[in-house]
Amino acid sequence: MATIELKQVEKKFGESFAVKPLDMTINSGEFVVLLGPSGCGKTTTLRMISGLEAVTSGNILFDGKDVTWLHPSARDIAFVFQFFALYSHLSARENIAFPLQAQGVGRDEIKKRVMEVAQMLKIEHVLNARPGSLSGGDQQRVALARALVRRPAAFLMDEPLGALDAEFRESMRAEIKRLHIDQHATSVYVTHDQVEAMAMGDRIVVMSNAEVQQAATPMEVYHSPANLFVARFIGSPGMNLIEGKYANGIVHLPGDNQYFVPESWRNVLNSSLPGDGKVVVGFRPEAVDVHTDGQLHSTTFANDLHGGYTMLHLQLDPDHIVHVRAGREMRYQLNDTVHFDVKPDMVRFFHPETEKALQNGKV
């Protein structure tokens, strides 16, 4: 399996950047997810790694060897697309065998390897069927099998679950992850779905506006987002982000609320905020304790059942709604007053102008 390095790789279309100069190392056997909204540069990055797209400048290395100008077929990679791209006139078996035949692998060896991957993906029973007669899930399994059968140095996947129904997506997500655990193939996976990224990635590279916003483990990205974009993008709903004014250990928040800043953060806030004391307070929906002596107060805007839990939507004032995850039986009437606290170890602060997270040694 290959280690993939990107060194100052950039891509321009005319004058505009599709990908700004980017440095990244994907370790051998690692599952890295490129995550971001459409147009952020994630697919272009993947296509440059594959060689389907030429870099404007910079270098791409596989196991230390420069492959920047190597043809895609010479890079020993396998690509899985959102659209299955199977040959409709060939059976599933012939589709899977195709890349091996192209490489001139012997007949017995092909037969053996096709059976191996078919067993791994549990598609032995559909090998004689044409793709058109298979479910979306099975078509994508055949496409995965065709990628796996080659035993490539790296897998590149571009939204492979994007075209599947919600019910298949959940189980295919688990299957692909499980496959990765068994094979330990270096994998680069592109998606705009943050749940997929969290569930699958060893590391997530969050991109926006042709730039990397943060590259870290799912837990770091979730609990310590590097900036407001990441805080908002990760989570469903994203982090609650409320702008206020800091002075003397207190952030004054909308709706005449006073938030007492935990002791451990005060030095950081004292030293790193702009002169007017503006700061963005961030906390996840599950970082809230609702109780009658809570220091923050709000009115109920809506509450709704999500199956296993309830989401409360609380208004600090008409322009600021806080989302709170609560027990499933918790219900308030519209406009009821609700008091709450933010768990001190789960609060985050962001600079209002740079939008970057303030760093606290203790977090």
Binding site: R178, M198, I234, S236, D304, H306, G308
Partner: protein, 351 residues
């Protein structure tokens, strides 16, 4: 506002049955969601209510009055579609005013202005009123479409997947606002969706449709906690409900291909059952009664999904926050008896 009753409606298109003997009543001021996969008959149901389709059998009542022969325009319903269908050359204000200025209604201009201001405030689009709709984002356009329905003050709102074209973040926030607006003005609303989260979070009551049949009608709690069939059970909830074949054996339910044995609930239980348990009810505990192997861990931040291999079966558990469980660990867990769902294996109906 208004109540609606559908009585034994059947609607066929050539050989296809889109609605098969469908009956339900929607109360005045209710948020009623039609939930089902593509082809379930949801949109046809909406169009029959609107009078855009004529049923083959059965009757539609508005406020207790038989309305089968009432033309669409006289039913006083407002539609919001997935596609925005606004007039691109017109300002937002003129788009909102359009239905009110039609010769049919001829609402006086001062009242038009008043209604538009009210709707615009609710939908937070006051700052957009002078803008041409072609210059709006998808989320803004859908707000205007909803606004155009609100200003008409119809008897009933009919919404056909109005949020499906928006990206995930927008969908989330508009969902909450729509629910808030509906509950403040108590408008009777029929909302069609294939998205179970939209149904659970917004509905006062949900009707689950499948293949033209109503499988269940109930509150979100009813649908989630007491699904009438395995289809309903699998349609709501993420991750999906665990579903296993099981047989009665020595006073327990033995899950096939697995050492899992669960206590048989009291009552008339057949020899073989389909046994369902939601992932949040698979409780990981150090002294848990059952043992398995962690085969896959999906950390979502707010919670963690753990796939536990037990014999040849996998049972999925979801726990709050991060989990100390690592891949390959032996995991002990409990499945409290009160959270079991039992279904008859042939009919798939709840026992």
């Amino acid at each position: 506002m208004s109540n609606i009753r559908l009585e034994n409606i059947t609607k066929t298109f050539k050989d296809t049955v889109a609605m098969s003997d469908v009956s339900f009543s929607i109360k005045d001021g209710e948020f009623f969601v039609l939930l089902g996969p593509t082809g379930a008959g949801k949109t046809t149901t909406l169009r029959v209510i609107a009078g855009l389709e004529k049923q083959n059998q059965g009757h539609v009542y508005f406020d207790g009055e038989l309305s089968d022969e009432l033309p669409p325009a006289e039913r006083d319903v407002a539609f919001v579609f997935q596609q925005y269908s606004l007039y691109p050359g017109m300002s937002v204000f003129d788009n909102l005013a359009f239905p009110l200025r039609s010769p049919l209604r001829n609402v006086p201009e001062p009242e038009i202005k008043q209604r538009i201001q009210g709707a615009a405030e609710k939908l937070r689009i006051t700052h957009l009123l002078e803008r041409k709709t072609a210059k709006l984002s998808g989320g803004e356009m859908q707000r205007v479409s909803i606004g155009r329905a609100i200003v008409r003050e119809p008897r009933v709102f009919l919404m056909d997947e109005p949020l499906s074209n928006l990206d995930a973040k927008l969908r989330e926030s508009l969902r909450v606002e729509l629910k808030h607006i509906q509950s403040t003005q108590n408008s009777t609303t029929v909302f069609v969706t294939h998205d179970q989260i939209e149904a659970l979070t917004m509905a006062d009551r949900i009707a689950v449709l499948h293949g033209g049949n109503i499988l269940q009608i109930g509150t979100p709690f009813d649908i989630y906690d007491r699904p009438a069939t395995t289809i309903v059970a699998q349609l709501v909830g993420t991750p999906k409900i665990n579903l296993f074949m099981a047989h009665r054996h020595n006073g327990s339910l033995q899950v096939v291909d697995s050492p899992l044995t669960l206590p048989t609930p009291i009552g008339d239980i057949p020899e073989a059952v389909l046994l369902g348990v939601r992932p949040e009810n698979v409780k990981i505990a150090a002294d848990g009664q059952y043992t398995g192997q962690a085969a896959l861990i999906e950390p979502l931040g707010v919670e963690t999904i753990i796939h536990i291999r037990v014999g040849d079966q996998t049972i999925v558990s979801i726990v709050p926050g991060a989990s100390p469980v690592r891949l390959g660990d032996t995991v002990r867990f409990d499945v409290p008896g009160e959270h079991l769902h039992l279904f008859e294996p042939t009919s798939k109906l709840r026992i």
